[in-house]
Amino acid sequence: MIKVANLKKSFTGQAVLRDISLNVAPGELIVILGESGSGKSVFLQHLIGLLKPDSGSIEIDGVDITTLSERKLLKLRKNIGYLFQEGALYDFMTVYENIAFPLHEHTRLRLKEIKEKVLNILKLVGLEKAGMKFPSELSGGMRKRAALARSVVLDSKILFCDEPTSGLDPKKSKEISDLINDISRRSKCTTVITSHDIYNSFRIADRLVLIDHGQIIARGKPEEIELSSDPKVKEFLI
């Protein structure tokens, strides 16, 4: 359960998030839609305490994470998968090593078990052949999939994905959206995705949230949003 209440954040005088409140139920898949620069990435980074809000609170499973120290946050983040907009894979490690990294850090699995797990997940994201490559040798779509694999390898119950489909062609976008949907449904993961990919968001989301200039302008099931008469919403959906 994630509860965000009255979240506000500005950078050097520029208000980026203005009063955002949002609840996400366990197992729910939410997509936050918004134009470029509307504050999606900033919002998502707040959800795992990478940024501190100016005011407001964020509760994850009953704990207000805005007051936690970095050390406590590090512990908390072990249980949360986070996919960065640009992937943020370690470029000095191979894809295999990148995916094995969280397992080495946070589990006591033996090398053999780690290997098995990594190979499984590589297969799941369709990168069986790319395990020994470095991130710089991958295409954008492959890099996204590798990064997704790294963020879900610990089977966490919460998953945040920042624009998983940006910069990909329609076919690849559909693939990766389905992949996230699959993973999320299979492990009953509470999932928050940001995107400006309207087509795929409507396909996979339980609920959609539209955000504009740091404010939520609409929220609801895909059917409800589609029927909305709000001019701003209509404009965005065209």
Partner: protein
């Protein structure tokens, strides 16, 4: 006024950063595997150029020293001149310069690139402390590698002086070696060595801090890396003066 405040804030941040590194290292959260990788990279990278520089400095000191000392009929003292200048002053400072230009720049650029590509914040998102994973190994490696390089540089420099002394100035080989060993007290060696330990922390600190806080894409990486190297030079030069004064006051 704003600039002055900003200056003190950044000094405070840098000190806080160093405090974090020490805290982590003292608590034993040192990843020795990573340290070994870094030692290998930093050591290998600087060793040849340091050997060349020291050899050449030793040789030049001997050439110049001979011209002067020969006028007083004291050419054997070339050995003393070479050994003492190198061990007390030149090796620690020159090696630190070269080290910060190679290993320091490398650390700053690596961390800087990681930061602009979100790899450092991704480390935090994975629940791993980036100071522990990325900074502590680099700084510990610095602390271990640079003193080693300085000893190495002492030896090569003295060897450079020896070649000139024996081949060019016609000092007997045994005399030269004897003279060198007599000249260097442990105090001389340690006054250079202590400075080196200090420089190694300073270079690691400056370069890792700059890299860790690099902003502004590829331009930023260039800017912050140059800044890291320039700052290390300044820190080495200034702290060398202060430390020399302090050491001379205590040991003479």
């Amino acid at each position: 006024m704003q600039r002055i405040i900003q200056f003190f804030v950044s000094i405070g941040n840098a000190l806080f950063f160093l405090g974090n590194v020490f805290f982590c290292a003292l608590k034993g959260r040192i990843r020795w595997g990573e340290v070994l990788k870094q030692i290998y990279e930093q050591g290998i990278q600087s060793v040849i150029i340091i050997a060349m520089t020291s050899f050449a400095s030793g040789a030049v000191l001997a050439l110049q020293g001979y011209v002067m000392l020969n006028r007083f009929g004291a050419k054997e003292y070339v050995a003393d001149l070479v050994a003492l200048s190198l061990v007390r002053e030149l090796s620690p400072v020159f090696s630190s310069f070269i080290f910060s230009g190679k290993a320091g720049a490398r650390m700053a650029a690596e961390l800087g690139t990681m930061n602009v590509n979100d790899q450092i914040v991704a480390t935090r998102a994975l629940g791993v402390d980036p100071i522990e994973f990325l900074v502590v190994p680099r700084m510990v490696a610095c602390f271990l590698v640079l003193p080693g390089l300085v000893v190495f540089s002492d030896l090569f420099g003295i060897f450079g002086g020896y070649i000139i002394g024996v081949a060019d100035a016609g000092i007997q080989s045994s005399t030269y070696i004897h003279q060198t060993l007599r000249a260097i007290n442990y105090v001389d060696f340690f006054s250079g060595f202590i400075k080196t330990l200090f420089f190694s922390v300073a270079i690691g600190w400056v370069c890792c801090y700059q890299g860790f806080h690099t902003k502004g894409g590829s331009l930023g990486v260039g800017k912050f890396t140059t800044k890291a190297v320039a700052l290390s030079y300044i820190v080495v030069v200034i702290s060398n003066t202060v430390l020399t004064k302090i050491i001379l006051a205590f040991w003479g």
